[in-house]
Symmetry: D4
Subunit: 166 residues, 8 copies
């Protein structure tokens, strides 16, 4: 279904500061596994607000389909992206403060009506990427096939690994 000749990034992974890279990089790894082109950037909602607004506003035109945003503390990044784009935005609350990520969770998930952020677990960048793949797979049969193969493979491995009762 999808035009395979388009190699532009389809997922944008954003994070609030350079220090979030070890956690947010896991999203990139998942997307690589699935062969989904992506881009990854450090962008702070509070320190570079105009750049965030510009990025979000142009994302759809640049061919992006899903945006993933991770940040700690008062995580406004995902919400700021969602305010400037109608693409699905996935928020990853990060546990980088004394509050262990509860602050980031509440700041990410408690969005007002009309501006949703699809929130995953604290430090859940892996699942953010899986969710992005599920969304992209709705219009990409090959991706859907790979998603099913991967889940089947994982289940087979887990089945084998679970100790059988005698």
């Amino acid at each position: 279904m999808r035009a395979s000749s388009d190699s532009r990034p389809r997922v944008g992974i954003l994070m609030g500061s350079q220090g979030d890279l070890p956690k947010m990089g896991k999203a990139a790894e998942v997307l690589q596994t699935f062969g989904v082109p992506y881009e990854i950037l450090v962008l702070s909602a509070h320190r570079l607000p105009d750049r965030v607004a510009e990025y979000a506003a142009q994302a759809e035109g640049r061919g992006l389909r899903v945006l993933i945003a991770g940040a700690g503390m008062a995580n406004h990044l995902a919400g700021a992206i969602a305010a400037h784009s109608l693409l699905p935005v996935i928020g990853v609350p990060l546990s980088s403060s004394a509050l262990n990520g509860v602050d980031a969770l509440y700041s990410t998930v408690q969005m007002p009506s009309g501006v949703p952020v699809a929130t995953v677990a604290i430090d859940g960048a892996t699942n953010a990427a899986y969710l992005a793949v599920e969304i992209l797979a709705l219009a990409d049969d090959q991706l859907k096939k790979r998603l099913k193969e991967l889940r089947a493979a994982e289940r087979a491995k887990l089945e084998a690994g679970s100790k059988k009762p005698g």
Copy 2:
């Protein structure tokens, strides 16, 4: 892009008990506004687990594209759906217990790797529907157009309503 002749439901709205209808019905209202066909069911992950598994496993084949699941307390519904389907699953934590929905929020959002649930705010059924529309609009240009028109209209209304400084 989308075959307009297909009138099957594209979004499934599930809730844990009949009492959740006033809150979850708001998702249906939003989908109606956008003209997105949907179905709405009461299904409990704990009281009808096989039915939930069956529903989730058959959803994609029945033409559904996005599943929304709302429940209170230990909200396992969204997670159970996500365990049996590779469609994007949106979880709505409901504030129906003494804990005001913190229990449902944690039960919905803190999913393990590989099985994401896109979580929205406590009692945030409206945003669950908006998120579903954003996802569907990725492959439905008319829906994208309506989404943009609605956001523009809302902003115009808000602009007009905000008291101007003299």
Copy 3:
């Protein structure tokens, strides 16, 4: 010290939605008591982000000295204002959700380095205005005088009202 001929608003009171007016209006009452010119607007960080950015960026030039921003849930309004202005920004977390304002408190106060928000109590719009007056009074001797008189008057009243031990 202050040029008394300048009747432009010196404090901007912003709130995320029309429904916040009963709570945020208390800030206006305090400013009226002190004779401080102010303006009051409904502006949502998520629904009118460009308007918020524009307002914040122009605030200093329009003669504003202190900005007060109140919102509930994931309160990004104060942070968004602070990202676009170097005026002191006072954030008021509002208790308008199932989480009773803890979400708004964390979203308001847990700001990253370099972009402070002066946060007051949940629903503490009155204190937001007092804080604004204290800030303005640093360069306005008459205001300082009124502030001292008011505190003295309140203490005298409280002194009188406290039942004396025999």
Copy 4:
């Protein structure tokens, strides 16, 4: 009272992932102390849902009397087991996330009416096993005797160890 010739496992210890073994293994140690036959498996409610359903549905027929399920984050394992079996299910919330187990506690204990999970402390696998033994001992006089002896022995040791006031 109990047919001693039956050496089939009477308690099933389940855990959400291999990494939970150090914590959940403590339940096995307690059961060994009491000579209660058990089996221990890794089974994820989200990654192997059909296997969990099958295990729970067959447990009673296989001679199991009590099921213990431990998992972290959004712990749905105990609830999923309870949804497919009428054996007593004991849930152990594990502290394997940024939220230190509060997420797992709420996900385990806040079950809807009709599907109970007997929840013990965060990381309380030892007590899960004691509770299982108490339940089994209701119909096993020898086990009851051993339980009483053990508690008496522990109390004697504690009595001896508590420094006496002069």
Copy 5:
């Protein structure tokens, strides 16, 4: 299996104060549905500690098999019962304080090793009774049969009530 001629109470329902009766009475209703003989008492761990100790110590000898204890605030009742008996003890945290039952939940569930309390949801007296029935049914085939019939009946009713997708 069970001697049907024994009509002594098999479940003891205890609560910390008379005011807890509306909540704890739901446990009695469930036991009545199943025809399980029970007794219900008001006993405070803090106001009648010796009576609680005596009750717990004598419970097994009086024919009781499971004890259910509900209390609010610092709920020590379940723990105190568990300290004086080796019968399974089920704790019901009640939401009777400013903390909405979180205090009672923590006080009930966070028991030290060797003295388990099977904790159910905040205000979850209904599930406490279901759990008691599941435990009793391990050695009472008729009760097991009734439990299965009831769950089947409930599921049939829920199946019928869930709106079918077209």
Copy 6:
């Protein structure tokens, strides 16, 4: 005022397990500083309930005036002591669990009417001893004198240590 010839312990320091000694030992150090005779014991409310009841019931007759009880998790020790004695009981919540002492704090402080526990900070054994000394000093002029001297000395030291503004 106090008969100096009485060398019996006046304060009893109790703790739930041997592992609490490093934290609870600080209370002993403070009492030594003030020359207040004390005794220190390991007594678990759940593992040695009769011993706890006996200790509390005999405490007043043995000359004790204040009881300090520290425990972690579901801290019932202080409450159990208070249920069996009319001496002032001071509770020290300990941070020995995944919940960092919030469980112990709530279990200690949220006592029902008529059975108070004077609760100090999490891990606040030092202050428990200070509070005991303040209570004893009400009827012991020498102790009061020492208390005043110590506070004065500490303030002098702090005054000296605080860097003076130029």
Copy 7:
């Protein structure tokens, strides 16, 4: 032991604002029951700090033996009293804010070393008075006798009221 001719107040009940009277008045009722002379005042740590300091510093000289302080939100009243007096200070956190008293509880109980506040339950003014009576009774045999009588009477009433098992 106590000079009965001294009719000066022995307990001071303080509260942060006039609105706290319905809750804090319960402490006065308990003291009246025991015939303990008391005084009750409205004093705010933040609005009348010098008055609070003066009151605390003079309390001992005026014959007061125990001070009870109740306040909501950031409850500094008990701590401020404790900073200016070496009498035992009992703190009552009040649930007068959006945070339901958790803010007041933490502000009251988490005192630094050397300045203890004996904290009771949220809104626990009744227990504050009981604790004061227990402290006073250490040096007042008649009060101790009344305390024992009252507890015995309450227990007898509770014993009678607890439904007996058949």
Copy 8:
């Protein structure tokens, strides 16, 4: 605008104990960057209350314009300063206890009406200083210029550092 010949400290940085210096020293670093004269002192609201009152009362007369107060646990320092001064007071909750700073946050931010404390993030001393600079810059054009230059420089650096999408 500001008389450059006045070299007296304009910001006072206070902290509850010597151990807070590593965290609170960051405020001093920021002020040095901006060339704002400051003083830094250790002052405990509970251990040196009169000194705190005296400091706060004299601060304005000594030329101070903004006061920053940081403390952990029950942080009463900022509130006590605010009670004795009409200068803007900035509170920094410190994460020095088992509660990770939630206690300090609530104790700092939940101030009663009329006595505001401008609260920043847990351990947010850097932002406390930025906020102080923003306040001072209202009446100091050179400082405003430096503030703008610094923010511009930081944004330029962040812009350069953010990986560009291809």
